[in-house]
Symmetry: C2
Subunit: 419 residues, 2 copies
């Protein structure tokens, strides 16, 4: 424990020192590091897969699930997609240095706000080694140093990836401490990391709700987090039912295991007897289990009655809670109570109710007539994302490069003093 | 303790419910509440001063210092300035609803970011009852509900101010739970408040470093904080020494007890023998104690030798640490080591070094040729401020109305689904 504490303190201090250099790197150097890493990842495929095999074999012996091992594997496809991701990040505009505003004060002082890196970012994530590359690429492009603590079961893979990244950093004269993977699987490394408030500016945890709650409870450093995605579609009276059917089906079925999939569907009573049987048929054919309110089970004989626990549940599976509502107010109250501030959609033809839904729903993305599945940095046009924040401070929604920066004030004077 | 827990939980839930209403108030209603409160404060002056007298008398019996009692007093001047402050906030533009960006995706989806309130803000502050009004006014204008926990010694004053605010809220049909003062002096109220992560979106502590560290260590809610202000002026070689003299004198002497006052002065060796004796004479006449490096004490016989503790010290008094540096690099390293990311100024005539200082110094405000005393929301043109953040997440520097909001994504579709 004491040894891990010293290790983390040392890494944090080195990251802080490196951050000062990385903050002022030219865009071109950052891009060359990213592109060179992309090449190295492809060139070192077999070395990476050898290290990854060690993790996979240990995992198998340990009896980890196939789904877990699947996420752990550095397959050819994953390796190519990591390299491709780095190329895409290199192609994005550099957010650092943008003057977001500038104005002149009555005393002649020119005051502006300029975008700067956050400094040192700590990533804590589970055993998906591709996060090591994706996160490091984004942090670096935004001018930050990063300390990565991946899941213990991916330690060999992560260290191999870090060494490749560091080779690229060194090639362009960037301090290799800009990207560090914590080399121990000691669990206390996480709490030690969460206490380095002086050196680390932001913690981003990625993983299950348990991991994230642990991080929030133990961190003295600000945390950008996302507990869960309980997303709804509200099908308004008078909605285009064909459009509603396509959107709801897409939101539930296209990829049910992700945070922006629909978990609850609210249907206005005026159209429920028309809408539910048709969409119900489609859901049934797609293997979606419906858990519904009494009106839903009356209209759909294959639906099961919902229990209180089903409202607001994040199923991450082919299961859907369905409720018929008497009014838009009831839908808004339901979303306020059971939603998770992630993604909420209305399907409507009514201009006034579309505006009201946009105004009143408190979620990181509120959509009119489109699928909840669009809550994603790439889909919304941010280029790439390091996660989705459902808390409101600093970032609310997908976090792209801009969200990995902040602004400082600058002022150009010619001798101004305060009276 | 259990009772306080229930009290705080109940207040937090009521604040959360009120926040949903306040978020969608028309600007005009918010302004009328503010202006009506300003009037009521003046009209109820004697009632406020009676309640304040109870606090002052208890404080005297308790043996509180004169400076403390001074901050606690609701003098005529303080009452007028609270009312004036509310009028100024009413005159500011409403940040809520601003669409900060909007763009069209290739699939036709119109995606935008719109400014929304944070939700519920918790203010924790010491015994300055004017903060109750200043903070409530800003929070309300930005569409937030607020829970205020002032110092125990100001409890009667704060409750009287809250009841005035709530009268104004009721007058315009706004839920009075939008502004609540915690009515107990039980110390556990603070920790209970810091645990209400589900209802409170942001904690802003204002007070000494001890209070702020306590809040950071115990909060599961994001905290916007400012530990201390250790601000420097670096007088570059070739600077306009007359300008440097005016700026440094202003930064140190105009109001030494505040966070944006200069605590350390760095002087390039090429101009130190010219500059230090003249500014030294002025400082001496103003009663400023100088604690200097050996070169400083050699040039200024009245200067005391600095100890290591003096570098980076927040004196908040007529004391100044002075160091002669060999180069700009040394100044930058010094600021990196001893600065507090608050405010840093360079006085120079050199274009290239001005740019370099602006780029490389990591502080919430970096100035060229102007006094550190400008780091203030009003002075920089934000209208009013609720505090200054020296951590980088969400806000770095003075926090005005905009910093009491966040943005959500909105998307206008016409049936888009994810492929």
């Amino acid at each position: 424990m004491a040894e891990t504490g010293r290790l983390i303190a040392d890494m944090a201090k080195r990251a802080r020192a490196a951050a000062r250099k990385v903050a002022n790197l030219k865009t071109d150097i950052k891009n060359r590091v990213l592109l060179s890493t992309a090449e190295r990842i492809i060139d070192n495929r077999s070395r990476l897969q050898d290290e990854n095999k060690k993790d996979l074999e240990k995992g198998k012996t340990k009896g980890l699930s196939n789904a877990f091992l699947d996420r752990l594997e550095l397959s050819d496809k994953v390796i190519e997609s990591m390299a491709q991701g780095l190329k895409e990040v290199a192609a994005l505009a550099d957010p650092v240095g943008e003057v977001t505003k500038m104005w002149k004060r009555p005393n002649g002082l020119m005051v502006g706000r300029v975008r700067i890196p956050l400094g040192v970012i700590g990533m804590i994530y589970e055993s998906r080694p591709n996060v090591t590359i994706d996160a490091a690429g984004l942090c670096l492009k935004a001018g930050n140093a990063v300390i990565l603590k991946g899941g213990s079961d991916a330690i060999n893979s992560n260290l191999a990836l870090a060494s490749i990244l560091q080779d690229s950093l060194k090639e362009f004269g960037v301090p290799p401490d800009a990207v560090q993977v914590i080399p121990t699987t000691d669990r206390s490394a996480v709490t030690e990391m969460l206490s380095r408030e002086e050196e680390i500016d932001l913690i981003i945890p990625r993983g299950g709700e348990g991991l994230i709650r642990f991080v929030v409870q133990n961190s003295q450093i600000p945390v950008l987090k996302h507990y869960k995605g309980v997303c709804h579609c509200y099908v308004d009276k008078g909605a285009d039912l064909d459009m509603a059917r396509k959107i709801c089906f897409n939101a539930k079925v296209q990829r049910p295991g992700v945070c922006n999939a629909m978990e609850g569907m609210l249907v206005h009573k005026d159209i429920s007897s028309q809408f539910l049987p048709t969409i119900g048929e489609e859901f049934k054919n797609a293997g979606v289990e419906i858990r519904g309110c009494p009106e839903t089970t009356r209209l759909l004989d294959y639906a099961k009655p919902a229990s209180e626990d089903d409202w607001g549940q994040e199923f991450l599976d082919l299961i859907l809670a369905v409720k018929v509502v008497d009014s838009m107010e009831e839908a808004l109250d339901y979303i306020d109570r059971y939603g998770s501030n992630h993604t909420e959609a209305i399907i409507t033809k009514d201009y006034q109710r579309a505006r009201r839904f946009l105004d009143e729903v408190d979620a990181s993305l509120v959509l009119v007539n489109a699928s909840t599945r669009f809550n994603d940095g790439g889909q919304l046009g941010l280029g790439a994302e390091i996660g989705i924040s459902t808390s409101k401070l600093h970032a609310y929604g997908p976090m792209g490069l801009e969200e990995l920066t902040t602004t400082k004030f600058i002022a150009f004077g010619d001798g101004q003093i305060r009276e």
